[in-house]
């Protein structure tokens, strides 16, 4: 008897299979995952150390003047964590299909009676679990240690991140198509991740950037997520008060996944015709 490949049950089975496969990769290399957790702390401490030297005894007050908070470490860690989360999404989604291509299993994936959207959503599910772990291990631990009274605000900050994750996953889909077409996944993901970190105010408010650069900053979801999380944790703002950012993220949630899926389908159609899938 042939099993059905459509319907809710079948889709759930496919999603579960892709999700577990992705998670197994992470569990197989615990050292790499540990690095994802440790890196945000290290980069934040680096900026703090360099800043302390440059500003000497007035470093904290100079920082407060420009950012509106004296809680330097939490400010930097929030930016650092979102950057690392964004890097994970970009790399996991961008590299996933290329990895299959290198192993020669991309064709099998595409030949399986599974909808492309289901395939991409399945990859995203692993990302969501990894990202949640990174958020609570990095941001959660920092807030718990430095400002335990604000721990209740953590869920609101997490919600902000989840809203921002939808457009971010769309960017991941966009890159997945590019990577299959242009190969060289790690160069593309590194360049894109660094560009995102620079544009979205990872270690500074985007308002210090030139106006023409800010135009690009506000097209990226991470800008709203970083600023929103800082407002929630450090300035006691609520999600409702940040409605402007939420609306922007909702708009981007339509734009990026639509663009990402369209680009992915375009590269897939082209790749099917040119035999690109089997090329290394």
């Amino acid at each position: 008897m042939q099993r059905t490949t459509t319907g809710v049950k079948a889709t759930a089975a496919v999603l579960t299979a892709i999700f577990w496969k992705g998670l197994k990769y992470y569990l197989r290399y615990p050292g790499s995952f540990l690095l994802v957790i440790v890196t945000p702390f290290l980069f934040a401490l680096l900026v703090l150390g360099m800043g302390q030297f440059v500003g000497s005894e007035d470093a904290a007050s100079n920082f407060a003047l420009r950012t509106g908070t004296t809680n330097i470490l939490v400010y930097e860690i929030l930016g650092s964590a979102v950057w690392m989360i964004s890097w994970v999404v970009v790399e996991d989604l961008g590299v996933a299909l290329r990895d299959e291509q290198m192993k020669g299993t991309l064709e099998q994936n595409f030949m399986a009676p599974v909808n492309r959207i289901t395939l991409l959503v399945g990859l995203s599910l692993t990302c969501i679990v990894i990202i949640s772990t990174v958020f609570f291990a990095v941001v959660g631990a920092t807030v718990a240690l430095i400002m335990p009274m604000e721990l209740v605000r953590l869920m609101e900050a997490f919600l902000m991140l989840l809203i921002g994750l939808i457009p971010l996953l769309g960017i991941g889909f966009l890159l997945a198509g590019f990577v299959v077409r242009f190969k060289e996944p790690y160069i593309i993901t590194q360049m894109v991740s660094l560009l995102f970190a620079t544009l979205t105010g990872t270690y500074y408010p985007v308002t210090i950037l030139p106006v023409w650069v800010q135009f690009f900053s506000y097209m990226l979801p991470q800008t709203y997520v970083i600023d929103g999380m800082r407002q929630i944790v450090l300035a006691n703002r609520t999600l409702v008060e940040l409605y402007g950012s939420i609306i922007a993220l909702i708009v981007l949630s339509f734009v990026f996944p639509t663009l990402g899926y369209a680009a992915f389908k375009h590269f897939e159609t082209k790749g099917s015709a040119t035999g690109e899938f089997s090329k290394y």
Binding site: L35, M50, V54, E184, L194, I208
Partner: protein
């Protein structure tokens, strides 16, 4: 069929193994290693483009983050920019060890060509130094291009107060790079989870050697560790030569210490590489990937 009857392909050079210890032979090996590496590098334009774009982006990511700690109105002074630029330079130079020299042996191992590399009738050191020279050249181009970019974006020159001392310290730093690079190149024959280890070493270097901030900021128990790392002195001298910061030791003593450490690092590096290679041959782990 006799071997001598095989005609040499057109364009192929005749290989002579005479005068194996001569300087010209070493130079020939060095040139061959350098050209081979340069060809491999430019064969992948995406890697070149990636280096050209990503390297300056690291600077533009961290620089504003640090500038917001500086006094208002002085956020973009030439001194601050030069300080940040130097930190960036130290990071780029050190990465040669981990992802330039060290990774090269791992890459050969993964590609299955390490045995051919080690069987070649050439000095190991020259082959690895050839790799270093290529990375040094491309890093130099990237740094030059980044310097221009920083000057254009910020409208500020990079300060360099004592060029001879700076160049001398840079030479010592590069000797250290070759020494530690040789050690790492050897270690890649033993350690397979190279990326995780290289990342941890990289962060340790940044935090402990004063690459991005003077070691005076490092908490006291760790500062003793900093003072035991040769790169701390190379970096301190280069920063002193560029922007006139105070040295850890009196200047003359620090120059002498740095010279001694640079020589020791090259010796220890080459000894370790040879030893690990010999062990890998015995254990048959040269090709294990």
């Amino acid at each position: 069929m006799r071997l001598s009857s095989i005609s040499r392909p057109r364009g192929a050079q005749q290989v002579s193994f005479r005068n194996t210890s001569s300087v010209s032979r070493i130079l020939l090996e060095f040139r061959a290693a350098f050209v081979k590496d340069l060809r491999s590098y430019i064969r992948y334009p995406a890697w070149v483009a990636g280096d050209l774009v990503s390297t300056p982006l690291w600077f533009f990511l961290f620089a504003p983050g640090v500038v917001i700690f500086s006094p208002t109105g002085e956020g973009s002074s030439a001194q601050t920019t030069s300080f940040l630029y130097l930190g960036f330079l130290f990071v780029v130079l050190f990465s040669t060890i981990l992802w330039g020299i060290g990774q090269s042996v791992r890459n050969e191992q993964m590609a299955g060509t390490l045995e051919q590399f080690l069987l070649a009738p050439a000095n190991r050191m020259t082959l690895i130094i050839g790799r270093w020279a290529r990375v040094f050249l491309t890093d130099g181009i990237i740094m030059g291009y980044t310097t221009l970019l920083i000057s254009m974006v910020q409208g500020l020159p990079i300060v360099l107060l004592d060029p001879p001392l700076f160049l001398f310290s840079l030479m010592l730093f590069e000797l250290g790079v070759i020494g530690l690079g040789l050690l790492f190149a050897g270690l890649t024959m033993r350690i397979k989870s190279y990326n995780t280890i290289s990342n941890l070493v990289f962060f340790g270097y940044i935090i402990l050697t004063g690459a991005l901030f003077p070691i005076a900021i490092v908490p006291l128990p760790f500062r003793y560790v900093s003072m035991m790392i040769p790169f701390t002195y190379f970096i301190d001298l280069m920063r002193h030569a560029a922007i006139d910061t105070a040295t850890i030791l009196p200047e003359t003593l620090e120059v002498a210490t740095a010279m001694l450490l640079a020589v020791v690092m090259v010796l220890v590096g080459s000894f370790s590489f040879k030893r690990i290679e010999r062990q890998a041959r015995v254990l048959g782990s040269v090709a294990a990937s």
